[in-house]
């Protein structure tokens, strides 16, 4: 192949993936489904009492590195945020004041995520990213109240506006699959060997779940599914079967594990892989005359959009691999673990005891329940950055109580995949003088 041919091929692919005008309807489906699911998700969160439990009751909140300045909300603030979230979700699905609504949603939702880092879920990270991307997509040009004015109406959008969402979904599944390609998951069937038998009481499949074979089958099938589902959804001949498998897979995880709305978000999001025609057919049920596509002038993205897209794509591809820069076992240290689509990968439990020593060498053991909710304590005791953050907080707290130069020591035991509790943190290191940063955490003991 000559250089010219190669250039031509690249140009062709670029045009096809980025500039080509395509039907807006898959994007419209995505917008409406996103709005409705976020609405249900927000209401469910409120109904379950999690606003109070996770945001209002704890005396101390864990933060993400770089976001220590995020203020903890007063009841007035957090309830207002949730009311606004509900309003924006409705507006997004209706396509009313879409741009303003999705921008507001992105900031409000991100704020709720930044209040307390122990509430981190990959699913919430996914929603943050998708809502950010949606800010830049013309998802309100059809089947939207905004599209009532003819100037805002359009049947066509540039291909990148749909492909960027497909790309994001592909990253979620494929990286989740890559993360499963490790010895413990594939050849020990852990943690599924622990999790599945605990569901033996369920009707129909309960009995099957108590077999080790089932755990192996689920482990392998889960990895294969994650790695291949996007390709099978893209390829027209396998698409329908793949989507059926996807529904079964997600409903199964929803049935077996406490993972909330995530399965439904994925089931709805992946509808975007269906053809323009299927989407149009669906909308013609409501509005008989979905007009035929007319080729308009292709919508070339601006330089800014192209740059932003490239940065976004590179970030999504590279960031999950940052764990390679850290020494030690990733599942043990969790350095570079978050924001990488590592979903339901390990069973971990810990117990952390903090000792504060005053200037005269006198010691006191901290009652964690004074400062942390049971949920926070559980999350803290297996994650080193939270342990450090809490130790720093204890230093300030005890200083206020009159301790001079308090030293803070943590004795922490953690078990990974039920293999036995082991000491996690060097109990002889004074954590009060350490600050969190991106450098490897030397106070973590190596996994034995």
């Amino acid at each position: 192949m000559t250089v010219t041919n190669l250039k031509k091929a690249i140009h062709k692919a670029y045009t096809y993936l980025v500039e080509n005008p395509v039907s807006i309807y898959p994007l419209v489906t995505f917008r409406i489904a996103f709005g409705i699911l976020m609405l249900i998700s927000t209401l469910r969160f409120w109904y379950n009492g999690w606003i109070e439990q996770l945001y209002l009751e704890p005396a101390f909140h864990f933060k993400y590195f770089g976001f220590y300045w995020i203020p903890s909300p007063s009841p007035l603030v957090i309830y207002s945020v949730f009311i606004l979230l509900i309003v924006t979700c409705i507006c997004i699905s209706l396509g009313l004041f879409y741009r303003a609504s999705i921008i507001a949603f992105f900031f409000l939702f991100s704020y709720t995520e930044l209040i307390d880092a122990t509430t981190y879920l990959n699913h919430y990270y996914f929603i943050t990213i998708v809502s950010f991307v949606l800010i830049f997509l013309p998802a309100n040009r059809q089947f939207a109240i905004d599209a009532n004015s003819p100037a805002h109406k359009s049947n066509l959008v540039p291909a990148w506006t749909i492909n960027v969402l497909k790309f994001q979904l592909a990253v979620v599944y494929f990286y989740a699959g890559l993360a499963k390609l490790n010895y413990t998951w594939l050849f020990e069937a852990l943690p599924l060997k622990i999790w599945l038998p605990s569901n033996v009481h369920l009707p129909l499949i309960g009995e099957l779940l108590s077999y080790n074979t089932t755990a192996y089958l689920f482990s392998w099938a889960g990895a294969l599914f994650d790695l291949s589902i996007i390709l099978l959804l893209i390829y027209k001949r396998t698409r329908f079967m793949a989507y059926l498998a996807l529904i079964i897979f997600h409903l199964m995880t929803w049935y077996l594990f406490p993972i909330g709305m995530f399965p439904f978000v994925m089931i709805a999001s992946t509808l975007i892989f269906f053809s323009e025609k299927s989407h149009e057919k669906f909308y013609s049920l409501f509005k008989p005359a979905v007009p035929q596509l007319q080729l308009e002038q292709s919508n070339k993205p601006s330089k800014i959009v192209l740059t932003a897209l490239s940065v976004f794509i590179s970030f999504q591809l590279l960031f999950p691999f940052r764990y390679l820069l850290y020494p030690g076992d990733l599942f043990w240290t969790e350095q570079g673990y978050r924001f990488s689509w590592r979903v339901m990968l390990m069973e971990k439990a810990g117990y952390a005891t903090f000792t504060v020593e005053d200037g005269n060498g006198r010691k006191e053991i901290v009652d964690n329940t004074l400062y942390l909710s049971p949920f926070q304590e559980k999350m803290m005791s297996t994650q080193a950055d939270f342990i450090l953050q809490y130790a720093n907080f204890l230093k300030d707290e005890y200083q206020q109580q009159g301790f001079t130069k308090p030293k803070v020591y943590a004795d922490v035991f953690v078990t990974l995949n039920g293999l036995g509790s082991k000491r996690f943190i060097n109990p002889a290191i004074d954590l009060a003088v350490l600050k969190d940063n991106f450098a490897p955490k030397k106070f973590i003991l190596p996994y034995q």
């Binding site: 379950n48 999690w50 439990q53 996770l54 509430t119 879920l121 990959n122 699913h123 050849f187 069937a189 622990i194 999790w195 038998p197 605990s198 569901n199 033996v200 009481h201 369920l202 108590s210 077999y211 080790n212 074979t213 192996y216 089958l217 392998w220 294969l224 079967m241 594990f257 406490p258 993972i259 909330g260 709305m261 995530f262 979903v343 339901m344 069973e347 971990k348 439990a349 810990g350 117990y351 005891t353 005053d358 006198r362 010691k363 006191e364 053991i365 009652d367 329940t369 909710s373 049971p374 949920f375 559980k378 035991f413 953690v414 078990t415 995949n417 039920g418 293999l419 036995g420 509790s421």
Partner: protein, 364 residues
């Protein structure tokens, strides 16, 4: 390659891997039978006994009221101590009816507020069910009235003889204990046993999760901290707080700690009051092959219980004195308990796939 052949190859492969192991291929454990044993053989008899002892205690208080003398005081004290011992068996199962009745708060909140008790008696006007009375009621308040108001038995008897309000307060305390324990027993006996057996999942709110969470909570907060750590000074820069001991006035703390650890072990192992070892958490751990560094977790846990009892047996005075004169011995108890908490909250919980949290939340 079509789907069918793919699935077939996969199935074959998986079978090969899983047959390669020496461990059994199936977790064979009947969780409903476990809950059944817990409800009917372990927990219900504990509440039945608590109700019986509380009733006997109230009767002894009535008997004391009728004839205030040393002999009846001794009888009353004997029933008080018997009730306090039996209470240790109920402290770790504070869910369901007991949770609704806040049985643990009512029975055993200490240290008591002496002034509050004396004010109550002096005013003769109080509502013992009110939240602010929580440190003026229950077994700790009886401990104070029966042992702590004066220096010797004669003066204690005089107090009751001279103050009818004091004897009334005593009766109000014992009657409250009788009523609360009867109510909890009645609920377990009628409907809650079945509710407990039927909630046989592992999610938040399932009986297994309630049992393990409350057992852990009781051991960590009420046994390790309450009975040992706080009096020893673990929360006060090493300065002992002897007056925060359980049964501080009767100086019976050590007996109660031993009893509570013993009953906790029996709870963990599904052992009835008669000593019949039924299906318990230890059997469940064995069924899922739970281990730590190559040793069976159930063995490690039972060894740790034995180590705690040994360290308690090494204390040869009451705890009031041992904390002052022999703190290192009490510290040894604390450290032995600490290790058991790690086995419970980390190893046991992880192996049984139970959500150790008193709070519901999504995972991912």
């Amino acid at each position: 390659m079509n789907y069918k052949s793919l699935v077939l190859i996969l199935a074959l492969f998986v079978t090969l891997i899983s047959c390669d192991k020496t461990e059994p291929n199936k977790v064979d454990f009947d969780r409903t039978a476990l809950l059944n044993n817990y409800a009917n053989k372990v927990i219900l008899p504990r509440y039945e006994l608590l109700q019986a002892k509380s009733t006997a205690l109230h009767d002894a208080a009535l008997n004391f009221e009728a004839n205030i003398n040393q002999a009846n005081l001794d009888l009353l004290r004997a029933d008080f101590q018997a009730t306090y011992l039996v209470w240790q068996a109920c402290s770790s199962v504070e869910f369901g009816p007991a949770g609704m009745e806040t049985l643990k708060l009512v029975f055993n909140t200490y240290p008591v507020d002496r002034n509050k008790i004396l004010t109550n008696i002096a005013s003769a006007s109080y509502n013992l069910d009110a939240a602010q009375q929580i440190d003026a009621i229950g077994l700790p308040a009886l401990d104070y009235l029966l042992y702590g108001t004066n220096n010797n038995d004669q003066e204690i008897l005089n107090t009751f003889t001279n103050q009818s309000a004091a004897i009334n307060y005593l009766l109000d305390l014992t009657s409250q204990l009788k009523n609360k324990s009867s109510s909890v027993y009645a609920q377990w006996n009628t409907t809650y046993s079945n509710t407990f057996i039927n909630a046989n999942g592992t999610d938040v709110g399932s009986s297994l999760s309630l049992l393990i969470n409350e057992m852990n909570l009781d051991f960590e907060k009420f046994i390790r901290d309450g009975k040992i750590g706080i009096p020893l000074g673990k929360r006060s820069l090493g300065n002992p707080q002897v007056d925060k001991l359980e049964a501080y006035y009767s100086r019976e703390s050590l007996v109660l700690v031993k009893e509570s650890v013993q009953r906790l072990e029996e709870l963990y192992s599904g052992t009835s009051l008669e000593g019949v070892n039924g299906l318990g958490l230890d059997d469940y751990l064995d069924a899922v092959n739970a281990s730590n560094n190559g040793q069976d977790l159930s063995l490690l846990i039972s060894n740790q219980f034995a180590a705690i009892q040994l360290s308690l047996d090494a204390i040869n005075s009451n705890l009031n004195d041992a904390i002052i004169n022999n703190p290192s011995q009490v510290d040894d108890v604390y450290n032995k308990m600490q290790q058991l908490i790690v086995y419970f909250k980390v190893d046991l919980a992880s192996n049984l796939g139970v959500l150790i949290s008193y709070q519901d939340n999504d995972g991912d």
